[in-house]
Structures are given as structure tokens and as C-alpha cells.
Amino acid sequence: MDENAVLAIKKVSIFGMEISQSSLTVSPLNFASFVYLFACFSYFFALAKAGTKNEKFWNRFSALLIFIAWGAHTFGIFGRWYVGGLDRPPWTNLYESLIGFAWMFATFLVYAIWKWGAPLVGAFASPLIFLLMGMSVMTPNKDVEPLIPALQSYWLKIHVLFGMISYAGFTIAACFGILHLFKNKVSHSKIGIGICTLMLLNLGIAGGYESWTMGKFMMTKTVARQMSDGTVQMVADRVPQYPGSNKMITRLETVPYANAFYFAGVVGFVTSMGLFAKRRKKSKLSAHPEMDLDTTSLGTFVFSVAMVFGICCMIALGMKSSPTLTLASNPYLTQLLAMSFFFAGLYLVICWRFEGVYRALPTAQRLDELGYKNILFAFPFQTLLLVTGAIWAKYAWSRAWGWDPKEVWALITWLVYLIYLHGKLLLNWKPNLLSAIAILGFMVMVFAFLGVNLVLSGLHSYGAA
């Protein structure tokens, strides 16, 4: 974030009315985030009630919430466009690319619910949208900032728009991939191993280097800083590495006792992975014997999730005692923990109500086809993203391709889906494998979209917080 950025409340005149910029743009977006959150919870009920007579109600109610949130979201985005002027599309910094991508994805979701008759895809899609929106809510700089010279190009509009379209297509394809794996009766143990891996990845990033080397669970320290317009804002405490250095480092603060829970969680997930992997005797009573889970592995999994909840409790306790410990300067940690709960919750609900969910889903072939269709649609746009990026880079930075990390990761994403398409079209790979690649591709894409800007440094740094 630009330390000097002013969170000024600017006025916009619409039909003679003076409206503050934030009430026109930020408020509807924040409202949309909360409605998306409710939609997430509503989808939990939709999953739990799948196959019963209440199924339709919960599906419709969740879809209604998604539509409402999407409406507010659209209003907020176009409000930003109105405020910024036609030459400044609402996708120029981190905040805007988060809401923009979430919007494009929500648009795909609305279309999927409306047209493709797979309402349960919302159960996986809505948490992703909420996580993006939640991250945007916690991004400190929400101002409609004017553009720096490098971004004053019409290629900005084209390049980022294509990026959003292709990434949204890949994301919804991954959601269909997950549903397809469930419908195709990939056993809960196998999916459990996948979920545990995701959890460990989450925890690994959340705990970071310090948890493993120093045995401390740390969070970014918050300080109150006076901005140039006189307002005081809570921001991450960043100091030069040594006096006069250009390299800024972030100061961290220990969360008391959290590391014990952290390690218990890590050990728990590793153990439950082992237990999931172990072959169990199949019960003959169940309708889907191959899907049965034993209580030990499931119990260990639940225990581990409880440990993650323990970390959250410790953070809450820490926040009470230390004023410099806040969630405001830790948006990504918060999102990672929230993501853990959403996905663990979805997994457990589906394990619990598998019978109903199985019946409520369209055929496996249809789900596979929907995922494939979206990748087929998104892939040319990813190619366009790469090519328009090269053209713009040529004009702005004097070279078309410079092996900048953002460029390379976009290329890697392209390669993953290229492999998918070759596997699908020429090698007749099994649908399960293809769905797994679609999910993997989604993870690579998330890294290309957010991870590169947050973790690796490069020329696309204006996208960083």
C-alpha cells in the first residue's frame, strides 16, 4: 500500500445529488460480501437437506441470496466505474482486482445456477466468492485512485478483462470438478486426503517460517499511523530493514499459546491423512459401502479442525490483551483460517449427507462435461491474456516477454490447462484424473492471480497491498 494514500471522502454528483464515493462504491460491495457469507451458510443447509423435501427451498433461497449479492456487487463495481470515469476501469489495484474477479466469478455462478441446472455448485463457489470479497473488505486502500502512467493504456482494460474471464471460467470448472469427484464416488478417504493436504498447505502458509523455526505463531503487528490528510489509520507495521534501506520488512507479534494448537493441528491432519490412506473394511449395511468412513479417521480430522479453531480462539484472546494485534493488518491469515473452516465444513456435511447429495447432483457425465465446457471457454481467454499482456509489456516496458514471475505463473497456468486439453481430447484420460487436474489448475491459477503479487516480487507490484 502507498503509505501516503489518502482515504479521502470524495463527493460525486449524480443527478444533482452529492453522494460520497464510498457510499456509492464501497458500501454496496461490503453489503454484497455479507450476503455472500449468508449464502455460504444457506448452502450448508442446501447440502444437508439435499434429497429431502426441503431441498428445493434451500437451493432456491441460497440462489436468491447469490442473486441479491450479485446485484449489489454489480452496482458497486459499475459505481466505481462511474466515479473513476470511463478511462479508469474498476480493475486497477488489488482491491479492485479482488472484487472484479469475484464479480466475474459470481456472474458465471449466476449463469450456472440459472442455466445449467447444477445449483449445488454454489456450495463450493460461494465460499470462494466470499473469501475474495472478505479479502477485499480487509484491504486498507479502497479509494478510487487515479492511474499511474504505466497503467494509462487501453491494453489495461482488455488485458485484465480477459484475465478475469478466463480465471472465472477456470474457477467454476474446478467447482464442477469437485462435484464430479463426489458424484463419481471417489471415496471419502481419498477426498479426505486431498482436504488434509489443503489444510496443511493453509496452515503452512498461515504459520509460516516462524512457527517452524522459532516455535511461535506470529501475526503482523498493527500500528496507528497518521495519514497525510490528518486521519489516523490502523496499518501493518512496516519498517526499513536497516536505517535508510529501501527494503521494508513487516514486524510481527507472537500470538500467545497459539503455536501449541498449531502443531496439534498439523500433527492431527498428518495423522488423519494416514488413517484415511489406510484401507478399511467395508460395511455391508450402507447404500454406498465404498464411501464409508470409520470414526477414527473422521474423529482425528474433526479434532484437527478443532485445533484450528483453537488457534482462532487464541488470536481472539490475544486481541483482547494486546492492542497491536488485530485482524485488520492480517487479511490473508484471516482468509486462510476462514477457508479451512469452509472446506472442512463442506467436506463433513457431504460425508454426513452423502446419500442425499449424491441423488441431488446431476449425472457424473454432465458434471464432467460442464467442467470441460468451462475450461474450453476459458482457455482461449487465457491465451488472449498472455498475448495482450505481451503487447502491453512491449509498449510499457520495452520487451514483450521478460520472464517476470507474474508472466511465468500465467504461463504455468496456461500449461496446466494445455495438459488438461491434450489429456481430454487426445489421450482419453479418465474423468476423475481430469477433474483432479482442473482442481490443481485452479490452485495454480490462484497463485498466479494472488500469490505472485503477495509472495514474489516483480513488475506487477502495483497489484500488491
Binding site: 499511474i148 502512467p149 482461449p380 520495452s398 520487451r399 514471475p405 496446466v416 495438459i419
Partner: protein, 475 residues
């Protein structure tokens, strides 16, 4: 010798496998990752030699890890990929061509009946009323509205069959994609052989005839500067930045709105080209492309001021233009001053310059004093027979230009265009064939598609209804 050619043939066949392509793609994917995690020479602000420990540095040098994308392993894999692409393309060409140039075929009645019910449309007409040849020509007209190459494939006294197809070239549009990739690689090779990348900082108001090169192709042919830096190369002409201006947004301090360099190219002493160079708008001269990339403060100021004698001020005004620390001697007043510091906005009081008076031996005389541009009479309070009025204080910036020569660019842009066209055509267009058969008053209509059948059933139904109406209207 025969055994050798046999071996070549066999290995060619082995290389022409999509499985190998996928392996190569996975390898390329994995080998792309280290270069994004490890600092690269000439790409990041930090030199990997300073950042990593000696052992890792040595290992990296050995494995070419710090120039990952130009290393033997990465380039080697791309070469293998190209070979595989060529092998696959050559190997598959006959079959693909056959499919793309699919000759019209006639289906037997049984073939129609084997089609899935959703794709088969059947209807009957009163065969006594209709003239079969008239029916045939009318329906062919309808078919021609879908594809100009629609034709009759079978025509007897009892039956006729019409065939038409759309999008057959999507079968070989993957060739366009693959060829385009090779074209892009070729363009990149030419650029890396003959091209170069560099940069230069020019202080506003000065000129340069050399630049610093970062990346230079083996055949770029740049001339080194005698007694210059190691990577300093001659431009062959003179490039002057006559002026530079940076504009900031009013409400966002430190956020540049626009920066412009007024660049001028001199051959010898004659000016040949002038251009306002902005970000996203380069200056191109000969092989060189100059891109506005950055700017910086030089720490120096361009100051315009007046020295005025208090006795007879009307005739004792001396206009002076100076940089910081330049000794300015006014003979007539017998005064020598030096501007020591300057600021475009000194504590909110506007532009100001600090001067000191010096003696003939260049020793400071008295205390240094500040003069503010916005208070022109302020300096006349000092009890000396002269005063200073500051007219303008301008900070001198240097403009940072990226310099590049990219001879492969037309080639790889062509490749990119082909890549896009090919990708969209290959994935958005499908090869659809349609068959219409009439036999003893019965019509059969069906179609096939070479990929994902989504929406195809509706399309077939739509076309079938057109034929239905056409045939009923003749009846």
C-alpha cells in the same frame, strides 16, 4: 545404412506421441517454477551473487539457475518440445487432412437408425403428391443456406440424400496453433541473437551518445565505448533530453500522473528527430526503441534569479541562471554569490534558495541567507547595497529510458496472431456434419459433431424443422 534409417524412422515414431508431449509440458511446467523463486541475474533489483551464500551461488552458476530461462535445461526442453511438435504434426497430417477435407458421404438407412434418438429426426410426407426431383432441388437450396458446399450424395428414382458440413477446418486449426508456437520460438531466437536490451539515464538538458546494455545478442554488433564501462555501448548518434516534466495527482502526493521527456536525436550536430516520449509511447530511431521507464531526482536545481543594486535599481538588474554551487560573479556590483541549497517548497513557504556571498578568494563572507520566491522584497531588508530576487526554482530530474532492439518482434507477433486465431477456432468451432435422406416418403435427418455435443441436439432439431417445413410446403 538401412538399419540406421530404420532406427531414425522408429525414433521419429516414438517422438511423435502425444504422451511425450504431455511429459514435456509437465517438465516445462516444473522447470518454469525455480526461476520465479530464485533471484535472476539482470531481472531483480538484487544481485543473486550478493543475496545467496557462496556454496549455493556456486551451485547456481554450475546449473545456470540464475539465468533459469536461458539455461541449457530449459532451452533444451523447448528444443525437444519443438521437435516433438514437428514430429507429431508430420505424423498426423495425412489423417487430419483426410478429416478436414472430409468428402461428402452417403449414409445407409441403417446408419440413421443407429443414431441416438435425440439426434435423429424422422418425418413423412405424402409421396404421391411430391415430385422427388423438385423436392431434392428445393431441399438442396435450404441446405445451401447452411453451407454453400452442400451437395446431393445419392440420387435414385426412389431416394435422395443431401450432405453438408460446417467448421471442418477446426480439425486442423491445431496445426495453426502448433505452427504459431514454432514461429514464436523462431522470433524469440532472432530477437535473442540480434537484439539487445539496455537503459540510460539522461539528466534533463543534457545529451548522451552511449548506453548501458543488460542483454546483448551474440550478433547484435554493438560497438563498445573506448575507456568506458564494461557494458557501455555506443549509440552511434547523440540523444538529448531537452526537457523532462513529471506531473503528480493533486490529491495523491507522490502518485505520478504523467511523465514526459522531450527527446531529440542528433546526427553530428543536426537534429533529425524530435518526440515527446511518454510511458506507453516510445521513440523509435534506426534500430533503437526508447521507452520512457522511470525518472529520478538529480539533487540539483535550475535557478533563475536577479541581482539588484539598491542604488539606482532601475539600471542595476542582472539576470542570472545557475545551478547549485556555481559561482556567480556580478562584475558591476563587485559581488560574487553561490546558491547553496534550493527547495521547490520550503516548509510550505514556496520555492526558496539559500545563497552565500563569497570573497575573491572563494571564502564565505557573512552568514548564508534564504531568499523566497513568493516574498520578493524580503531580501532587501539585509543591510547590504544589493539584494536578490528569485524568479524560478526548478528541480532537475533525470529521465530513465529503457532501450531495446527487437528484430524478431514482427515474427513473434505474427505467431501470436496465429496462436490466438488457432486457439479460438480450434476450441470454439466444431466440425459438424449433417445428413438428410429421403426414401419412399420418409425423411431421416441427423448430424454428427467431432467434440462436446453441448447444444448440438437443439441445433440439429432447429435445422430439421427447417427441412420439415420446406418439404411440407412442397407437398
Amino acid at each position: 545404412m538401412a538399419a540406421f534409417w530404420d532406427w531414425v524412422d522408429r525414433s521419429f515414431l516414438k517422438l511423435a506421441s502425444v504422451k511425450i508431449t504431455v511429459f514435456i509440458l509437465v517438465g516445462l511446467l516444473l522447470l518454469s517454477i525455480p526461476g520465479t523463486l530464485i533471484l535472476q541475474i539482470n531481472m531483480s533489483n538484487v544481485d543473486p551473487a550478493l543475496e545467496y551464500e557462496y556454496d549455493f551461488w556456486k551451485f547456481g552458476q554450475w546449473t545456470q539457475l540464475f539465468t533459469a530461462y536461458h539455461s541449457f535445461w530449459y532451452v533444451g526442453l523447448i528444443v525437444i518440445l519443438s521437435m516433438n511438435l514437428i514430429a507429431c504434426s508430420v505424423e498426423r497430417w495425412p489423417g487430419m487432412w483426410k478429416m478436414a477435407s472430409a468428402k461428402p458421404v452417403a449414409w445407409a438407412r441403417e446408419t440413421f437408425l443407429r443414431q441416438p434418438a435425440s439426434l435423429l429426426h424422422k418425418w413423412e410426407i405424402n409421396k404421391q403428391k411430391a415430385n422427388i426431383r423438385e423436392l431434392e432441388s428445393e431441399l438442396l437450396k435450404v441446405a445451401k443456406s447452411f453451407s454453400r458446399k452442400a451437395c446431393v450424395t445419392e440420387s435414385t428414382s426412389e431416394t435422395f440424400q443431401i450432405f453438408f458440413q460446417t467448421g471442418q477446418w477446426s480439425r486442423i486449426s491445431n496445426y495453426l496453433v502448433h505452427t504459431s508456437l514454432l514461429v514464436i520460438f523462431a522470433g524469440a531466437i532472432i530477437s535473442s541473437m540480434y537484439g539487445f536490451e539496455g537503459a540510460i539515464n539522461i539528466p534533463a538538458g543534457s545529451a548522451v551518445d552511449s548506453f548501458i546494455v543488460f542483454k546483448e545478442g551474440k550478433a547484435a554488433g554493438l560497438q563498445p565505448v573506448p575507456n568506458g564501462l564494461v557494458n557501455e555501448k555506443k549509440l552511434g548518434f547523440k540523444l538529448a533530453a531537452t526537457d523532462f516534466k513529471v506531473e503528480f495527482y493533486k490529491d495523491y502526493p507522490g502518485r505520478p500522473k504523467d511523465f514526459v521527456s522531450w527527446l531529440e536525436v542528433f546526427e553530428g550536430n543536426t537534429s533529425v528527430l524530435k518526440k515527446e516520449t511518454r510511458v506507453n509511447d516510445p521513440l523509435i530511431y534506426k534500430n533503437f526503441e526508447f521507452y520512457q521507464a522511470s525518472y529520478g531526482r538529480l539533487g540539483d536545481y535550475d535557478i533563475k534569479f536577479r541581482m539588484i543594486g539598491k542604488k539606482d535599481p532601475e539600471n542595476n538588474i542582472f539576470y542570472i541562471r545557475s545551478r547549485l554551487n556555481e559561482i556567480q560573479n556580478v562584475e558591476k556590483l563587485k559581488i560574487t554569490v553561490v546558491p547553496l541549497y534550493a527547495a521547490t517548497n520550503l516548509r510550505g513557504l514556496g520555492p526558496a534558495v539559500q545563497f552565500t556571498q563569497v570573497s575573491a578568494e572563494n571564502k564565505a563572507v557573512g552568514e548564508p541567507f534564504w531568499v523566497f520566491q513568493e516574498a520578493p522584497l524580503y531580501d532587501f531588508r539585509r543591510e547590504v547595497p544589493w539584494g536578490v530576487v528569485v524568479d524560478e526554482v526548478k528541480e532537475i530530474y533525470f529521465t530513465g529510458l529503457q532501450i531495446g532492439y527487437d528484430p524478431g518482434s514482427p515474427i513473434y507477433w505474427l505467431g501470436c496472431a496465429g496462436l490466438l486465431l488457432g486457439t479460438f477456432y480450434a476450441l470454439f468451432v466444431t466440425h459438424k456434419k449433417y445428413f438428410l435422406r429421403y426414401e419412399n416418403g420418409e425423411f431421416y435427418f441427423s448430424g454428427t459433431i467431432h467434440r462436446l455435443p453441448s447444444g448440438f441436439e437443439q441445433k440439429v432439431a432447429k435445422i430439421a424443422s427447417r427441412f420439415l417445413h420446406a418439404s411440407k410446403s412442397i407437398e
